[in-house]
């Protein structure tokens, strides 16, 4: 099987994730979509690693996973705090950072 198909899959997953971020209001779903995009990027990295025959891409993918995990920890905590104070997980309700 040609490794290019993995790239197609990665592009598809990234697009789905991007649409999720742009279209959904629920913060949790937006968060999951971001994870999807990150993982699509990981998939692409690993595929390139395979195609070029070196490990750079795989190492990069590990970094991404670590950063994604850290992000989830902070992000979920914020979402929980926002939900507690406003009783809503909608990202549109939290539009406080404007002039």
């Amino acid at each position: 099987m040609s490794p290019e198909n993995y790239l197609h899959l990665a592009a598809l997953l990234f697009t789905i994730g991007a649409c999720g971020v742009l279209l959904r209001r629920n913060a949790i779903v937006v968060f999951m979509s971001i994870e999807l995009m990150l993982n699509a990027a990981n998939l692409a990295l690993v595929t390139f690693s395979r195609m070029h025959g070196n490990l750079d891409g795989q190492i990069m993918a590990f970094f991404v996973m670590v950063v994604a995990a850290a992000e989830v920890v902070v992000g979920l905590a914020i979402i929980v705090m926002v939900y507690r104070s406003r009783h809503s997980a909608s990202v549109d309700d939290a539009s406080l950072m404007k002039l």
């Binding site: 991007a18 971020v21 742009l22 937006v30 549109d92 539009s95 406080l96 404007k98």
Partner: protein, 631 residues
């Protein structure tokens, strides 16, 4: 001897400085100090004159180089004086009449609290006028030229609390400034043509310059002369200048300063001789002003303004003579000197009348004054006879020579100019007779003044009458002395070009014609003002009288042509500066402000729109990168 020239100028200058800086402690004797310094100047002038007479005609000129004023590469301006016969004539006139008028003012200004300043300004005027006539280059002449303008400004506006006086002073200065620009441009032209503006190199090289250049210089000098000498079209300030105290009108606006234009033209004779076109313009200006002034003088009821019209007219004679070239120069100066005497005398007489009549100037409120002011009447009467050209008095000699020279121009021009000057003689006789009749003859038409005081006409004190008597003697005798053995012509001929005209009319014929026309003018005035009582309110009169009362619409013209458009222009420009020039800048600032206001709206706080713009931006970047690679 040369070193005395500087002293001549320094004495009144010192007086002005002392009186202005000295303050109140000089109030008690300041006027005598000023008069003494003026007299000292006169004494020095006499010493120099006697010394000058002791030498031959050819080497009478003295010069004194004081110091190099503005030395810049290629440009040399010196403070240097030159005293030749022409300057000497003026110096004697200025210092003698000046001293007399200082003396007169001691009496005239006795009750004015600011008398010290008045004398300071008078001294300043004397100094500036002496610089004007003694300068050996045009730039120093310019200094004197503007200096007398300043003194004239200060003295016309001496009674500053009167808005009319302040306005008249400003008007005089500004109109004169227009003329001064002419002098400045003439100096620029001389500098770029000859590389210098000292009299002797410029005038001796003038014949080599092209006629176009000389015409340009000549016309610019004429503009200057028009401003200073109140010639058409810059005549409008002189009538208003009568707001000043009467001694000022006598000294500055009759005898000396206003004749400076004639001096300038005569002094620059070598330039005008090479520029016939400019000479023609000078003659035309002189002829037009001659009639203009005379017509205005015929209609005015204000005694000083009538005399001012007369001054304009007489200077028109001089200017006309100066424009005739070598056949007229000497007679222009001769008339200038005799006019200096009789016009100063007439003004002092008018001042004496006003002094006795609570400062009333309207001749319709005089009448019958000859019994109350005998000295004034006699001295003014002699001045009157002199100015109208009564045979064997001063005006007879000097004016007839000008009329004769005008005919001497030859051809049609000669006839026209001769005719104009003769007509002027008749008008002179008319308006002067009118003044005399309205003031000294007829019934009393006196009225109470503003405070309700009846006028008590009385003869003026000695300090006022003595100068009047001296000037009256000068008015009577000067012409005769000047004409004795052609003494005046011989005196000036080494420095001023002379020539004989070819008049179609004989000299005797001119005298007869002028005398007849003079009698016609006197008769007409007597017919109108002597034979029947004078109405207290001026009759409406025909259109020319009405126009002449308004100075032949000079101010209406200036307002319509300059003042009104000028004020619209300034107001428009203030608007433009605020709205357009500043507006562009403020507009730019407002534009940036507005733009940032718009851009601020993009920060709407919605996380998803931020994400969308991120995606959009990334997509554009990728697209651009791909496109670049494709190209």
């Amino acid at each position: 001897m040369e070193s005395l020239i500087g002293l001549l100028v320094a004495a009144p200058l010192l007086g002005a400085a002392l009186l202005l800086v000295g303050g109140r402690r000089l109030d008690r004797f300041g006027h005598w100090l000023a008069t003494g310094l003026a007299a000292l100047s006169f004494a020095l002038a006499v010493v120099l004159f006697v010394d000058m007479l002791g030498r031959d005609g050819g080497d009478r000129a003295l010069s004194q180089h004081l110091y190099s004023w503005v030395p810049v590469s290629g440009f040399q301006a010196d403070i240097a004086f030159q005293l030749d016969q022409l300057s000497m004539t003026f110096v004697l006139l200025i210092t003698s009449v000046g001293t007399l008028i200082h003396l007169y003012s001691v009496g005239y200004m006795e009750h004015d609290v600011r008398r010290r300043r008045f004398f300071a300004y008078l001294n300043l005027f004397l100094a500036a006028m002496l610089i004007l006539v003694l300068a050996d280059n045009y730039l120093l002449l310019y200094v004197g030229w503007e200096g007398v303008g300043l003194a004239s400004f200060l003295l016309i506006g001496f009674w500053q609390h009167k808005p009319s006086a302040a306005t008249a002073a400003k008007k005089a200065f500004v109109v004169n400034r227009v003329g001064d620009v002419g002098l400045a441009i003439a100096i620029f032209l001389m500098f770029s043509t000859f590389g210098t503006f000292a009299f002797s190199p410029v005038l001796s090289t003038a014949e080599q310059a092209s006629e176009g250049t000389l015409t340009a210089i000549g016309l610019m000098l004429l503009l200057a002369a028009c401003g200073k000498s109140a010639q058409v079209p810059l005549q409008s300030w002189l009538g208003d200048a009568m707001e000043g105290p009467t001694p000022v009108s006598a000294l500055i606006h009759a005898a000396t300063m206003v004749t400076a234009g004639v001096y300038l033209v005569v002094r620059s004779g070598a330039i005008f001789d090479g520029a016939p076109a400019a000479q023609t313009v000078v003659v035309v200006v002189g002829a037009v002003t001659l009639l203009f002034g005379a017509i205005v003088g015929c209609a005015k009821d204000d005694i000083k303004k009538a005399l001012a019209g007369s001054t304009m007219s007489q200077i028109g004679y001089m200017m006309l003579a100066a424009g005739l070239g070598p056949i007229g120069y000497v007679f222009a100066i001769m008339h200038l000197v005799t006019h200096g005497f009789f016009k100063a005398g007439l003004f002092l007489g008018a001042g004496s009348v006003m002094h006795g009549m609570n400062d009333e100037v309207d001749m319709r409120r005089y009448g019958g004054l000859r019994k109350y002011m005998p000295v004034t009447f006699v001295t003014m009467g002699l001045g009157y006879l002199a100015i109208i050209g009564f045979p064997y008095l001063s005006g007879f000699f000097s004016k007839d020579e000008i009329i004769y020279a005008a005919f001497g121009k030859g051809g049609a021009e000669g006839w026209i100019l001769g005719g104009v000057t003769l007509l002027g003689a008749a008008l002179t006789a008319y308006y002067m007779t009118r003044i005399m009749l309205m003031t000294f003859f007829g019934e009393k038409r006196w009225v109470k003044d503003a405070e309700g005081n009846d006028p008590h006409p009385h003869e003026s004190p000695l300090s006022m009458t003595v100068p009047m008597i001296v000037l009256a003697v000068g008015s009577v005798g000067a012409g005769f002395v000047f004409n004795l053995n052609h003494s005046f012509v011989d005196w000036l001929s080494p420095v001023v070009a002379t020539a004989d005209g070819n008049s179609p009319v004989s000299h005797g014929m001119v005298s007869v014609l002028a005398t007849v026309l003079m009698l016609v003018g006197v008769g007409a005035a007597w017919f109108q003002y002597g034979r029947r009582p004078i109405p207290e309110v001026a009759p409406t009169g025909v259109w020319i009288t009405r126009a002449a009362r308004r100075d032949l619409l000079q101010d209406d013209f200036n307002h319509a042509a300059f003042v009104t458009p000028g004020s619209y222009l300034t107001r428009g420009l203030v608007y433009v500066d605020h709205k357009l020039v500043d507006g562009v800048v403020n507009g730019t600032a407002a534009g940036f402000g507005g733009l940032s206001g718009r851009l601020r709206k993009v920060q709407n706080g919605f996380a998803r729109s931020y994400a969308a713009s991120m995606f959009g931006g990334a997509a554009i970047l990728i697209a651009v990168t791909l496109l670049m690679r494709a190209v």
